[in-house]
Symmetry: C2
Subunit: 765 residues, 2 copies
């Protein structure tokens, strides 16, 4: 029922927006005073630790906690039996549909453990040593079951089933036999057969990637306190404290209005901190113990039991005329979801071809469960995987057609009104503009040396809008405090302060931007989907505009004129014309200081469900050099362009683009989960799981393109995720250019690449 409305832009008043001042969270983070999830302490606080499955797949025959409960210093032990049994409901084919039945079992196993590291009991004790010792006193009787880890094995007819009654959804006819395939999604536009018939060249291939972890610096951490009257508090690092509240409420069986969640500073999330792991368990331990309980994951627990991005396998086929016009595109993709359904495979289908106006196309996706940790969102969740297949194929297509890879994309660039799978039509421009910008970039003409290559790729992320809330209060000193419900993972306090400053027409340093708790700001959806500067920004602007209305009304009262006779310009109330009368302007500070005497203080909240978000378009070229002796790929340079709509804090936008490319490079070259034959993850530590570090990366040049979003007062488009989408493909394309080897499987680790060079594997360029 929400139609998109174009917004009257307030561009004329932009003094702060577009500048890059020091961020509000900068000094506390740099000086070590920022408070993270594990920095909270409550009087009488206990330490909670989780008992985790030593088997990748087993039936829990019994759990005897009596020895642990009797151990001195232990205050509470919980198992699945302590948590409410939530109603069963299969996940539908929709994008991200939470399923309480499944998700609650990921938090705490019930009938079975489904992966090595799966939580099945927890202890709260006076200290960590006691809690750890008590874990060893919990006696579990398991029936060990056969397990399955890889997609192909898990999807096979005879695979061991994680859920004995799981029937694939959204298939016609509905299969009779249960399987590990939880969901299917498919959509076609145009006439695929006719489209391929028109093509002069057709490329086809199968691509895959390993799961990669978000790799946030701060492990999951929380403090939960349940009071005996049913009122509860939670302090937590997360990407959405309202979501932590609502998920904890659901899984612990507490009304959501009874839980107050205070957001901590957050040491990285990238999508991985949008769901609960510890929180309902800490809450249940607190309820049982009658004391606050802190739980903090170790890094190993983060790897073994929190969600990575999905490993996938994608087959793609693209046909084009000689002039480069793509006539048809087809794709079938298989996404690992870990032990429970609910991963982002539909995004893989929706985003795969969305940069391009292709009249005939089909996307088909499957989601497969296996005995691995459940996947979680990771920056543009689901999109980089199919993009790797599509942009690799386009790279080959360009070579076959003898076209510059940017020209091929420009030729097929999507425009407003072009259809996309999923019954969508493109609503924004911006993609052509970034392609033209990169084509004209001097570095694109730079000559390369031996064993060096340049790759190009483009990416799409649909971005999000949704619920956001903000408050704005004027302080007696004439400063303004704006608070939102969006945890700041990428600079949103700075962007909120900048937009608030320009809405009021006051300097940036007169605005304090905060993230406040669930009782202090209106309901706000997660920091994710690149939605915060767009949607929460609009909530901040809305709150500020309500306050400006109050200020104008107060000036009108003081001047004894109609409110319409008052303008608000540059931080002060002015008569709208000389006819109104001779009045000295009233500044925000003057109005604030006389607030009590003239009727009360100024402030407002604002909540809105935001539509009108724009897609994120990104493209990049990357130069690499491959050492033919070792297979090691060195990044030489990267230039990434993105349509920011309007860059509120350009340095932050650059940082988002750079961070996104860096994470994509990790997927491309090094990161991946390595399983042993025992179904146990072998590289659950920073030593063995290789993420790029500063010395692995060149300075990534971020090019901000601004095609304003007409549905946002400042023209904002989401910028945080699109930049990652095509980075893996771009690196692979560069490696192909440098080596003549088309690497179709990520990561392109030195041994894999060396083998390809030596065996001349990699059939197509």
């Amino acid at each position: 029922m929400n139609e998109i409305k174009k917004t009257d832009t307030i561009t004329a008043r932009q003094h702060c927006v577009g500048t890059s001042p020091v961020r509000p969270d900068g000094v506390p983070k740099v000086t070590g005073t920022a408070r993270y999830g594990s920095d909270y302490k409550a009087p009488g606080m206990l330490v909670g630790k989780m008992l985790r499955s030593p088997h990748p797949h087993a039936r829990i025959l019994s759990i005897d906690t009596s020895r642990a409960e009797a151990y001195p210093g232990v205050h509470a032990v919980v198992t699945g039996a302590d948590f409410p049994l939530l109603p069963f409901r299969y996940v539908g084919p929709d994008r991200i549909e939470r399923n309480a039945w499944h998700d609650s079992r990921n938090v705490m196993a019930r009938e079975k453990v489904l992966y090595h590291g799966h939580a099945l009991a927890a202890v709260a004790a006076k200290d960590e040593a006691t809690a750890k010792h008590a874990l060893g006193l919990i006696d579990v009787d398991y029936e060990v079951l056969p397990f399955t880890v890889e997609i192909a094995d898990a999807a096979a007819e005879d695979a061991p089933l994680l859920f004995e009654d799981m029937i694939t959804r959204n298939v016609d006819p509905v299969p009779e036999k249960p399987s590990n395939i939880s969901r299917r999604w498919a959509d076609t536009i145009g006439d695929l057969e006719a489209g391929f018939a028109e093509a002069d060249e057709i490329v086809e291939g199968t691509y895959s990637n390993d799961p990669a972890h978000q790799g946030y610096i701060e492990p999951h951490a929380c403090v939960a306190e349940y009071h005996k009257d049913g009122q509860a508090q939670l302090w937590v690092s997360s990407q959405g404290h309202f979501q932590m509240r609502d998920q904890t409420a659901a899984y612990a069986g507490i009304p959501n209005g009874d839980i107050q969640v205070t957001p901590a500073e957050i040491g990285g999330g990238f999508g991985g901190k949008t769901k609960v792991y510890l929180e309902p368990v800490a809450m249940m331990l607190s309820k049982k113990a009658g004391r606050p309980v802190k739980m903090v994951m170790t890094r190993e627990e983060v790897f073994r039991a929190s969600g990575p991005a999905a490993g996938t396998r994608t087959w793609v086929r693209i046909g084009a005329r000689k002039d480069g016009t793509i006539t048809a595109a087809d794709l079938e993709t298989w996404y690992q979801s870990g032990a429970f359904p609910g991963g982002p495979f539909v995004n893989g289908c929706l985003c795969a071809f969305s940069c391009y106006g292709i009249p005939n196309q089909r996307s088909v996706g499957y989601e497969v469960v296996s005995n691995r940790p459940m996947v979680a969102a990771y920056r543009a969740p689901g999109a980089p995987q199919t993009n790797f297949a599509v942009e690799s194929a386009l790279d080959i297509l360009a070579k076959k057609l003898g076209m510059d890879p940017i020209d091929l994309r420009i030729k097929n660039a999507i425009h407003i009104g072009d259809p996309m799978v999923g019954a969508r039509k493109m609503t924004h421009e911006g993609f052509s503009e970034i392609l033209q910008t990169l084509k004209a970039h001097p570095a694109y003409q730079r000559k390369l040396g031996p064993n060096q290559g340049r790759g190009f790729a483009a990416g799409f992320w649909h971005n999000a809008g949704g619920d956001s809330g903000a408050t704005a209060f004027v302080n007696p000193d004439g400063t303004v405090t704006v608070a939102t419900g969006s945890p700041d993972i990428g600079g949103s306090r700075a962007s909120m302060a900048l937009m608030a400053a320009d809405t009021f027409g006051i300097p940036y340093d007169k605005v304090r931007a905060l993230v406040n708790d669930t009782t202090s700001v209106p309901y706000t959806f997660v920091t994710g989907g690149s939605r915060v500067t767009f949607a929460t920004g609009k909530a901040v602007i809305g709150a500020c505009e309500k306050v400006i209305r109050q200020l104008k009304e107060r000036a009108a009262k003081i001047w004894k004129v109609e409110v319409d006779a008052v303008d608000w310009v540059d931080g002060e109330a002015r008569p709208s014309s000389s006819n109104v009368g001779e009045f000295e302007p009233l500044t925000l500070k003057e109005l604030a200081q006389s607030a009590s005497a003239t009727g009360g203080h100024f402030g407002s909240s604002h909540a809105e469900f935001m539509t009108g978000h724009a897609p994120g378009f990104s493209a990049m070229f990357i130069d690499v050099e491959v050492d033919p002796e070792t297979g090691r790929t060195t990044m030489l340079s990267a230039v990434a362009a993105q349509d920011a709509g309007r860059a509120i804090h350009p340095a932050y936008v650059e940082g988002q683009i750079q961070g996104a490319v860096a994470q994509g490079v990790g997927w491309a070259l090094n990161e991946g989960y390595i399983y042993g034959p025992d179904g146990v993850l072998q590289n659950a530590s920073w030593l063995d799981y290789r993420m790029p570090v500063a010395s692995d990366l060149p300075m990534i040049e971020a090019v901000i393109v601004e095609v304003p979003n007409p549905y946002h007062p400042f023209g904002v488009k989401g910028v945080a995720e699109a930049g990652m989408v095509s980075a893996p493909a771009c690196v692979a394309n560069a490696v192909a250019a440098a080596t003549g080897r088309r690497m179709a499987s990520l990561p392109i680790s030195p041994p894999k690449l060396l083998e390809a060079i030596d065996t001349r594997d990699g059939s197509e360029l």
Copy 2:
């Protein structure tokens, strides 16, 4: 510029208001999980301790902190020189005018120390033992000065001066010679001489009281954290976290928008926690140390350096006709203010005769500084002192006229429109009603035994309105969270929840009431002046009404009708008439659960400067028995009536009345500061400072009278303070009835009373 407007009452919708459900803060307080000021911890936190003056009066010649600074484990030392020098400004004659020049010196001495216990330096160290030891390493060179403690001594011509240039304000002609008399206030109405000339009986006397401490259970405590970017946080138990913010900002030289103050639960305040003692010092130590700093007073520090109520001396003269009509009343009162001006002596002048319609009256007040801790607000600050004089005199007058003491008050009871000193006119009824109620109370006719006596007295407190702010947010489960800026010292969370419940038309248990921090709710003045249920309640109602408007707009959008076609009744939207169409009502929960899909979530803030407050009228009779052998007075029974306007949570109103009477009994019988000849307080501990305990008190019967306030939607009048005002006088009148001794000096301690009995002191009954 704020005119009082009568409010459309929403009495028809009262289902919750007037009931006494379990209070929101009850379980955490009883089970020990409520978080008080000293319960907060921050990582790296230091302990701060204050160096206090060993002299009642001395010039600080030098402070050498170098040995303390060098001591291992000490992170910062501050003295007055570290704090900003605030502009000098004499306090005016107004009721409570803060004076930063003086108040900042009370927090941290500069040129002189003005009382034994006056803070003059502070240390932050790794632990308390280190901090205490380091205090001993601060070398102070004092020039010890003569001191003055008692009012008469301090006001004498040749008294040692606390401020060598202090000229009494508001005297015409302005005196040339400096003195310790800081301020004078005076007002006359009618013709005093003519009034006394009309009188058939005149009573006259001089009455005095000792300073008494508020005696809150929880000593002052705070944690301050100053970040290197100038943003600061403060966790504190107080009666007003916005005031803690603004005073800390002023005295520490930080913009108030840069300090976020989180309110702790508060273990009693009674007026004594409306000003800062530790907070600016902890903040300055944190700034210097670069670490969070906790400061907690000991009980001895509370006695020696936080504010008691003023000791006073009052001369009063009242004349009446034979029929009891009071024709004239005159009063001159002297209030100790401790070492700095800023006490509540004007309240003593304003409240003294305000229960009565007296055509000719005068009140003159003086404020005197002396070498004692600065006074602070204490429940109806300033009012009980002059009330003791006036109600004692009226007791004598009634006896002289042969009238029942209640009848004398009924005869002279004030009514709407009657003039009062201070250019006021009475705006509310209510006093006659409580007098009639007590007169008709069966206990008033109860026969007394030997050595027993019944006293009667009435009191007035003007109550307050002022700035209050609230937020109301609807949770997804259909519950409502209301938050205010008013620390809850007497049940305001319960009263806010009750009023919000009835405004929405939902059950009490669907509302969560909280006190939120300075960035989360609009500016709110202190919890004091019996203003919270009245003014903050109105802010809560205002916020809820804005949310109801949103809910009606949403229902109108869903039904596609005009918003005026939607009524909000009993927690749901309904079509206002059958003409609107056939629609099933939409409940708050249904609207909350579909909020995202229909346009966004529901919530609002509201801020208002509230006028229209009603005065607090209280009256009581108390029966005592005096042991003629020991002089010990035993309370037999007490019946106190008060006009609550409308009792939102009657059990809490009863508690307020009972607590007020209990504190007044403490003033009357036992409490008082005892100074030695060295100017040092001799009874700075609970052992030596005798407050009434449960076994000292009978069950106090609280009689709630309800004369609704037409300027508040629920008819609320303030109830927290008026009940204390006449309690000291009432006890003294009862003692007079029991013993035939008129005790004109509080406390009526056993030795004093015994001496009066033995010497037949106490000239008039």
